[in-house]
Symmetry: C2
Subunit: 249 residues, 2 copies
């Protein structure tokens, strides 16, 4: 937690994890300044006036800094093992992804959809925001039927609202694609009608990757299939490797 995220107009903190973090990790005392953020709002500072077992009270709340910009990017992710979902969602939130659509895929086991972790998405987003000092939650949607999603909803994700209906690009990461990621980036750079190399949509498979049918269907609906090279990486690693290219540094 690099900031404590609070509801609008809050002057007290009673969330047990936040209180423990302030007391035991940050080792704050009365009079100390704390980095805080308003959910969906600005980032700033507050001064601690009181600490007890269950509560931290604040004064001089100043929220004068905008949160970091989001990436204008939707990630379409095949439902992975629920165990890795927490870190994936934390990282995508921390790296500033705008929207995440979790879809079913051939290699997503049916039991994954029953996991109680799927009800804790908001919590993982919250963790990612507090890690990255951001306040605007990642939007997460679930699409349990792959084919209707790709055929009926996917194309709309590619329409760039700022460019009068122009089709933007989408990328699917696939270890066996013939085009490499670097070639893709070079081509994207050479096109003057795109201000940067970031696609509008990034499709990332789960453990075992996409099957050919899924790759083909996504490609028929506007995706370019790219390979990250000879080394096959974990889903989490791929997400960070790709998103790292557009980190505002």
């Amino acid at each position: 937690m690099n900031c404590i995220l609070l509801p609008k107009n809050a002057t007290s903190i009673s969330d047990p994890e936040q209180v423990i973090h302030i007391k035991e990790v940050l080792k704050c005392q009365v009079g100390d300044s704390l980095t805080i953020g308003e959910i969906g709002g600005n980032i700033g500072k507050a001064t601690i006036t009181h600490i007890n077992d269950n509560e931290v009270l604040l004064t001089d709340v100043t929220l004068d800094k905008k949160p970091p910009a989001k990436l204008d990017l939707t990630v379409v992710l095949a439902l992975p093992r629920p165990k890795v979902l927490r870190r994936l969602i934390m990282d995508m939130t921390s790296l500033g992804v705008n929207k995440l659509i979790i879809v079913n895929s051939y290699r997503s086991q049916k039991s994954y959809w029953q996991s109680p972790l799927l009800n804790r998405i908001d919590e993982f987003v919250f963790e990612g925001l507090q890690q990255a000092i951001d306040t605007v939650p990642l939007v997460v949607e679930f699409k349990k039927r792959f084919k209707p999603f790709v055929e009926d909803e996917f194309p709309a994700l590619l329409v760039d609202e700022n460019a009068e209906g122009e089709q933007s690009h989408a990328v699917i990461a696939h270890p066996y694609a013939t085009q490499s990621w670097k070639t893709y980036l070079d081509i994207a750079k050479s096109k003057t009608n795109h201000k940067d190399t970031m696609p509008k949509v990034l499709c990332i498979g789960a453990e075992g990757g996409w099957i050919d049918y899924e790759v083909d269907l996504l490609c028929q609906h506007g995706c370019t299939s790219v390979s990250l090279g000879q080394r096959i990486l974990r889903t989490e690693t791929v997400v960070n490797v790709l998103l790292g290219h557009w980190l505002e540094a």
Copy 2:
């Protein structure tokens, strides 16, 4: 496991994890072809002749493909919580880091050095190799005393053997550095005496980052301190974001 890593001249597999993977994840049967690698050697294929509860027997072993190139890069990592060490080492191995030096830092708790996970490093490297279809292990060293390491051993890491004693660059990731990562990359690109933008050494802090004294000491010994921007990322995320820039794709 995208390949099964075996000792030289092996024609049978008896490692329980590998046997379970072949039977339960890959669902292989007699006659199927298996992607294998020789530890430290080539990658190739073999045909399965027999499967029982404890063993898989192979024939027609062909090892005709070189493993992917390593990055000419040493990562200096502050000892993190042992819990995250497994994924960090797996990912660095998968991404092709050549050498990892794990150092003590002010924010590495003393108890971390007692963790039994520190004796399982070879296992984590092995997992990373089998993930990425590589065969050459990451070299891992421990340096429990930060100051003597930086003063006496760090400068030697920066001497580029291929460039007749020329000093190569080293980077320390630090959220509060004034120079941004992007500026650093632009400057590196503009220098004609470096064929690419990859530093020779990358220093990455653990949870809570480096303290000023550590950043200063590393900078006195050849490091450039760079920030990844406003968003503060987990150690694992930083590793993948940075290393992803030099992935052979």
